[in-house]
Structure formats: structure tokens, C-alpha cells
């Protein structure tokens, strides 16, 4: 199942439960990719006129964007990860499409007139598809909440569904504005995943924390993008909230750290514990559910602190 982990990484938005997430450290690269992707879309859309009729998506995040934006019958196949409840928020919708595993041969035989891929999707497959004359639009991973709107627009333009994309963008931006918590006294939160992996500054998860009134312990510890935060340093930081991931089936030593007595103690001492799930993986409008969950956690902690203070007086 190394493939799953690889595909998740390729999946774009910083995947909280994945051990490696190189996306955010490549800021300059990322924006250049965005620009190229947008240019590609424009050129392609200009040449073809009407929207594509047989679209295949090979990346978890583009799968879900395409399912939201495509007209009935326009989308032919999505990746198998779209039907995995651990990484996808649109499992029910994905059941209506053929699943693919992203191999060039498999995708080519579906005779697509457009392939949607992530910029980290298996490079060899994407290059091969291009050589075979298939149009591939690559969507860069989201590392900021603003990327959600950008991704909706890129995929919307590629599918010829620009108006629908704008509607979703407007809804998303209104929803985000309503959930935003501004505070002078942020609550300290830590994201902690298998192998001691944490998401630091410049990641989607970090921004979810900052818009909901949390300060990211990982970012404060100097982690940029994804990186390792030794358990010792997490214990010493004593965060008020710990966000961990749900374990996968089958045992792994990497996930044992989530049951380590020291982490259990830190979680016990913290005011709250949260588990991140599929909503945190991709830069989709549904990420607002994760934002809402964190906003609720922030309010609960703040209320609890006020109650304790009132008791003390």
C-alpha cells in the first residue's frame, strides 16, 4: 500500500495523516505551476471551444473538485482514493463513477478528452499521457485557504463550468468569513501525526488553526511545511489542544506514537483533543467543516477557561 501513501501525497493539499508532505516547502515552484496550469487551461479552452465531454481525474483532490463542478455525464472516472472514507469527503458521489488507479494505460483506454491530475501525480504517467496526445491539466496542491477558490476556478475553467465554480467560490468565501475567529489571545494547538509528523507554517492545516484563533505549536517550534516534532518537545510545549489522526487498519510502528503514554498524558492535560479526517486532506469547500469544528473547539476551550476563572474568583 505504499501506493496509497504516494497517491495521498500526490493528492495535493497537505495531507495531515501522511508522513511526508513536500508541498508547502515549494512555494515558488507552486505558484509557477499555478500560472502554467492556468495558461494551459486558457490555451486549451480557446482551441476546443465547448467543454470536454470525457473527463478522467487521477488525483484525490481533483476527483472531488470535478465531481462538484462537472455537468452530468461529463466526468467519466475518478481515482480509487475518492471512494476511501479516510481521505475523501465525497465517497457517496464517487460510487457513481468508474474508479481508476492512475496508470497511463488504464486512463488512455478510457479515451478521455481531458485528464485532471495533481502536480505531484505520478510524473511518468502524466508525461506518457501527454505524449499520447491526451490533454492533461495539472492542479497544484492547496497550501492556503485562498487556494480553495483558485482550485475551483482552475478546474471550473478546465471543465467549461466557470459559472458554477464562481457560485461555489462565493459560498466558500462567505462561509469562511462567517467562521473566522479573531482573537488577541490565541489558544495553543498542536497537530500530531504518525512518526511525530506535524504541520508547521505555510500549510493548509496551519491556516485552519490561525483563522479559528489557535496558535500552531509546530510552527512556533520552527517547523515549516511538514516536519518532525520530537515527542519530547511536544510534551514540553504542553499545548491546549492536540489534533491527531485516526489510525489506519493494520498495525504500524509509525502510528504507535499516537498511543505513547507521554502523548496520552499530554492529550489528557490539554483542554481538548481533536481527530483530523478527510476534510483536512484537500483544499475543497468542504474544508469549512474542519474550520467549523476547530472554531467550535476554540469556543469550548475559551468558555471552559472563563468558567474556571469565575470559579477561582
Amino acid at each position: 500500500m505504499g501506493r496509497r501513501a504516494g497517491a495521498g501525497k500526490a493528492g495535493g493539499a497537505l495531507p495531515p495523516a501522511r508522513p511526508v508532505a513536500p508541498a508547502a516547502s515549494l512555494g515558488i515552484f507552486r505558484s509557477k505551476r499555478t500560472w502554467l496550469a492556468a495558461l494551459g487551461v486558457c490555451l486549451w479552452a480557446g482551441a476546443a471551444g465547448a467543454g470536454p465531454q470525457r473527463v478522467v481525474s487521477v488525483n484525490l483532490c481533483t476527483d472531488q473538485l470535478a465531481m462538484m463542478l462537472a455537468a452530468p455525464g461529463q466526468l467519466v472516472s475518478v481515482s480509487h482514493l475518492a471512494s476511501d472514507p479516510r481521505s475523501s469527503v465525497m465517497v457517496a458521489e464517487a460510487a457513481g463513477y468508474d474508479a481508476n488507479r492512475g496508470g497511463a494505460e488504464e486512463v488512455y483506454l478510457m479515451r478521455p478528452d481531458l485528464v485532471l491530475a495533481g502536480t505531484y501525480t505520478a510524473r511518468a504517467s502524466v508525461e506518457l499521457l501527454r505524449r499520447l496526445g491526451v490533454v492533461v491539466v495539472e492542479v497544484p496542491p492547496a497550501s492556503r485557504l485562498a487556494d480553495v477558490a483558485e482550485q475551483l476556478r482552475i478546474v471550473g475553467a478546465a471543465l467549461g463550468q466557470g459559472a458554477r465554480a464562481e457560485t461555489l467560490v462565493a459560498e466558500f468565501e462567505a462561509g469562511l468569513a462567517a467562521l473566522r475567529i479573531r482573537t488577541d489571545a490565541p489558544v495553543r494547538a498542536a497537530m500530531y501525526y504518525p512518526n511525530g509528523y506535524t504541520t508547521g507554517a505555510g500549510t493548509l492545516a496551519d491556516e485552519i488553526l490561525s483563522v479559528t484563533g489557535f496558535a500552531n505549536v509546530g510552527a512556533a517550534a520552527g517547523v515549516t511545511g511538514g516536519g518532525i516534532l520530537p515527542l519530547e518537545r511536544l510534551v514540553m510545549a504542553a499545548p491546549d489542544l492536540v489534533v491527531t489522526s485516526a489510525p489506519y487498519p493494520g498495525a504500524s510502528r509509525s502510528e504507535e506514537i499516537l498511543a505513547h503514554p507521554a502523548l496520552v498524558a499530554v492529550r489528557g492535560a490539554a483542554a481538548a483533543a481533536m481527530v483530523s479526517d478527510a476534510e483536512w486532506v484537500c483544499g475543497l469547500p468542504q474544508i469549512l467543516r474542519a474550520v467549523a469544528g476547530m472554531a467550535a473547539a476554540h469556543r469550548a476551550i475559551r468558555d471552559a477557561v472563563q468558567v474556571t476563572r469565575a470559579d477561582g474568583e
Binding site: 505504499g2 501513501a5 511525530g196 520530537p230 510534551v235 498495525a251 509509525s254 492535560a269
Partner: protein, 326 residues
């Protein structure tokens, strides 16, 4: 005796260093006070739940591997016998991985060291049958290479087929070993099995001494070779199995340590056994401290360092063996 005392001091010093080295910057005084008195929340947690188990496992795993190496070399009268090199640790890894991936270990925790022990015992027994006390270095190494390759391949296969995306990345852990983020649970899991192994191997000293004179002479001195073999097989399997179940397969410790210490204690295996245990503990503690100093946040594997130190020894050994043959 003087050698043992010096080694004991070295282990004690490295144990203390292991407790005091870590990514969390904590003062010397507060760290020790927290460890002993249990006052000061986060510091106590770091000292008692993270660093103490790591240091204890360093001593236990190192002693187990050093002792197992010395006993195997004594019984086979072959300087190349080393648990990691000839497939005993990889076989233990296979047992441990099977126990974890089938979920047996999650239901009943002792299944993990038991399965590793079974893997190690199978490997040691097979090697003894193939190489035997009379077997030459060539048979032992060939059998060991075949066993290592097979066990390693099966570990990789099982982990690649696991539904857990992290499992496949852990092939390196099961081949190289690491003490990062272990807890007291692992200490208590390994300790009973290691105790059994130490007791069994401690009683082999006289038999191994006699065996240096040859099998016939040993029999004449009243040493039962069958019994000795059984003791060594079970003792080595218990030690290597328990060590591998919690720390992965750490190589070269059982090779390097007996070689370094043999000239210091004289050629008697009975004197080498305790010295090799202490020496092994010192080597693994030192290697584990080095992993934390070289790359504090990368979980550098223990086996990387022991192999860097151990492989040149192996070359030297082969060199001197060739010279001996000419």
C-alpha cells in the same frame, strides 16, 4: 574483573548521558530532580516516559545482542556468528511483523516478543543444523545469507501487503532498528524474555569453555552437547527475539563487541559472556546517543551507526582469516 568494572562504569556513564541528551532543552539539575522526585509536570513526563524507557532499552537490547553474539561464537567456535549477520535477527523481525500484521499482538501483547522469539529460534536451530559445531565458516555464512535474504524479503512482502500506508515505510525499521519513541510498555514486554535468555546463557559458560578443547574433550569432561545446544538456541532466541520485537533488527553488535573484548578477558568464553553483555549495552547506548546528536529529528536508525562501525571490523576479520589460510 577489572575489565568488567571498567565496562560497568562505561555503561553507567552512557546510561546517564542517554537520559540527558534529547531534543527538549532541559537543564541538568531539573531533569534529574524530575526523574527522581516526580515533580514538575512536563519534565517528569519527558524523563520518565520518553528518555528512561529509551535508555533502559538501549542497555537491554545491547546486552542481549552482545551476549547472544558471544554465546553463538563460543558454541559454533566461529568468529562470524552474529545474530544480525546470519539471519537470526531478520527471522525475529519476520515473527514480530507477522504478529503485528495479523493483529495477534494487539489482542495479546506478549504475542509480539513470543512470535519474534519463535522466528529467532527457528533461525538459530536451522543454522545449527546446517553449520553444526563442526561446520566451517563458509557453510555458516552461506546458510546465514540465504536465511537473511529470505526473512528480509518476507518482511518486505508482509509490510507491502498491509492495508496500513505506513507499514511499507517501516521495512527500514525492521531491517535497521531504532529506539525512538519507545515506552515503558516495550521495556516490560521485552524484560521477562531477556531475563530467561540471560539465565540460560549464563549457565553455558562452563560448557562453552570445555568446548574450546574440542567436542570429544568436552564430552569427556561431562558436558552434554545436546543440552548445551538447546540452552544456546533457546537463550539466543529469547534475547534476540525480545530485542528485535521492540527495537527492530540491530546488526553488528554481536560481532564487534565479542571481538573487541576477547583479547581483554583471555580466550575463555565464560569470561567473555558477561563482558560482551556490558560491551553490547555500551555500544547500543553510544549508537543511540549518536543518532540523537547527528540527526535529532530524523529518526536515524540504530543499525546505520552499528553497521558503519561494524562493517570495517568484518572486513578486517575476513582479511585476517585469509592470511590465516595462506
Amino acid at each position: 574483573m577489572r575489565v568488567l568494572a571498567a565496562l560497568g562504569l562505561l555503561v553507567a556513564a552512557l546510561f546517564a548521558a542517554s537520559l540527558l541528551v534529547g531534543p527538549a532543552a532541559m537543564g541538568l539539575g531539573p531533569s534529574l530532580r524530575a526523574l527522581v522526585t516526580g515533580e514538575g509536570e512536563a519534565v517528569v513526563l519527558v524523563m520518565r516516559e520518553i528518555r528512561l524507557p529509551r535508555a533502559l532499552l538501549g542497555v537491554m537490547v545491547g546486552a542481549a545482542l552482545g551476549l547472544a553474539g558471544a554465546a553463538m561464537q563460543g558454541f559454533l567456535r566461529n568468529p562470524l556468528a552474529e545474530p544480525g549477520l546470519i539471519g537470526v535477527s531478520p527471522a525475529a523481525s519476520l515473527g514480530a511483523v507477522l504478529a503485528l500484521q495479523t493483529g495477534v499482538a494487539a489482542v495479546w501483547a506478549p504475542a509480539l516478543p513470543l512470535a519474534a522469539l519463535a522466528g529467532a529460534a527457528g533461525a538459530v536451530a536451522l543454522l545449527f543444523v546446517l553449520a553444526g559445531p563442526r561446520g566451517g565458516a563458509l557453510t555458516l555464512i552461506l546458510a546465514g545469507i540465504a536465511l537473511s535474504a529470505l526473512a528480509g524479503a518476507l518482511v518486505a512482502l508482509v509490510l507491502n501487503l498491509s492495508p496500513n500506508p505506513f507499514a511499507a515505510m517501516e521495512i527500514v525499521f525492521w531491517m535497521m532498528g531504532s529506539l525512538a519513541d519507545r515506552s515503558m510498555l516495550h521495556v516490560s514486554l521485552a524484560a521477562p524474555f531477556m531475563l530467561v535468555g540471560v539465565v540460560l546463557l549464563a549457565r553455558t559458560g562452563r560448557g562453552l569453555d570445555a568446548l574450546t578443547l574440542g567436542e570429544d574433550a568436552a564430552s569427556a569432561l561431562g558436558v552434554s552437547l545436546e543440552r548445551l545446544r538447546l540452552q544456546v538456541v533457546i537463550g539466543v532466541a529469547a534475547l534476540v527475539g525480545a530485542a528485535t520485537a521492540v527495537a527492530g533488527a540491530v546488526g553488528f553488535v554481536g560481532l564487534v563487541v565479542p571481538h573487541l573484548l576477547r583479547p581483554l578477558v583471555g580466550a575463555r568464553p565464560s569470561a567473555l559472556l558477561p563482558a560482551a553483555a556490558l560491551g553490547g549495552a555500551a555500544v547500543v547506548l553510544a549508537a543511540d546517543i549518536a543518532t540523537r546528536l547527528i540527526a535529532p529529528d530524523r529518526d536515524l536508525k540504530l543499525g546505520v551507526l552499528t553497521a558503519i562501525v561494524g562493517a570495517p571490523f568484518f572486513f578486517r576479520l575476513i582479511w585476517s582469516m585469509r592470511r590465516g589460510m595462506e
